[in-house]
Symmetry: C2
Subunit: 215 residues, 2 copies
């Protein structure tokens, strides 16, 4: 039996849970992938909505050289100046097969210096923050730099699409299609309002109303 690929998914206070769990559920379908949720300390962290606890199973230092990193987003402000986190990302990236992010997770990759001069993506509301990290934001759902081993995904749910592509790259297309079928990923959104250009003024007013308490 070949060695299982080690996937590290960081969890941290105020993360966006679906950023982490969407890609996790895709990759977890493939027995060859051994996934560990890592963080500052073992135990519970609360997500950005405050209503969900997720469990960190290993410290960053317990997985110094994973094959894959999937960095989720959320409130990443503290992480972007957290030397421990940034050192781990840089050190791990030296030997990863793929270093990836979802949503504002790209701001952490950027703060670690991994996106200098590269195109990258993030949540639609965070393009300016991404640019401030030295990357060139592009409004695409998944941005791949195969030569640099870096993939960034757009906001929250984009991590599911990214993880399917990542599964194809790590294993093969059949594996990715099997994962897609196992999670029955045949999206049928009841509305067509998932990107900024499609949102009416009324929707944007509501977005600002809902989002304001967290900023």
């Amino acid at each position: 039996m070949t060695r299982r690929l080690r996937v590290a998914i960081p969890l941290f206070p105020k993360l966006t849970a679906l950023d982490a769990i969407g890609p996790y559920e895709v990759l977890a379908q493939v027995p060859a992938f051994d996934i560990t949720f890592v963080g500052h300390a073992r135990g519970e962290v609360r997500d950005g909505n405050g209503m969900l606890g997720l469990v960190v199973d290993g410290r960053f230092e317990d997985l110094p050289s994973p094959d894959v990193i999937i960095f989720p987003g959320g409130d990443t402000r503290l992480l972007q100046s957290d030397v421990r986190v940034l050192d781990w990302v840089r050190g791990a990236h030296a030997s990863t097969t793929w270093t990836t992010s979802v949503c504002a997770g790209s701001l952490v990759l950027g703060a670690a210096g991994l996106l200098d001069g590269l195109t990258a993506t993030t949540h639609w509301a965070r393009y300016a923050d991404l640019a401030a990290c030295g990357a060139t934001p592009v409004p695409e759902r998944v941005v791949e730099h195969l030569d640099r081993r870096i993939i960034t995904a757009a906001g929250v749910s984009a991590g599911i699409d990214m993880a399917l592509r990542l599964t194809e790259l790590l294993e093969d297309r059949t594996a990715a299609q099997a994962a897609q079928l196992l999670i029955e990923y045949d999206p049928q959104p009841p509305f067509d309002c998932g990107i900024r250009p499609k949102a009416t003024d009324e929707v944007m007013d509501r977005v600002r109303e809902y989002d304001a308490p967290r900023r």
Copy 2:
């Protein structure tokens, strides 16, 4: 300020995490929704892949009358004969605005007697199990019975689509569209293999290979 709507999402050992977290992340965008993860006891439960711990914040009995139930799937076999769980579901359903499920969560609603004589959906591999619960399985992504206050969603990722519709029903269409934009739900699957009729023999062989260890 109007009373916040209380949403209960059960967590249990061997659940499928995305069944719960997909709808959670949609509903959590709306400040009017107060979401609690409930279970047999407070503390950590491990998901069906064994690689993720999620935290139960309240016992079933702590939330006897939520406004909304979202029952996720996974390995629901023990739950389907768990008197404590079934009594809670029946008791809570008496006064919910909506009782809903994702994936094999419908088998628990069925075991509680809520789906007798109704059309309903579940994961594509579980139609026979759903029929055994007294429901009539239909291969649709979301099945609504507005008169019975019951909505069932298909496998895993279908919970995201269901939760957007649920948000429209509970709040209004603008709320659902705002949630869709906030989670940037503009799906772009790299393959078109999310439902059983689209899978090739090669993909089905892989699905059986991946799924076998869990059965």
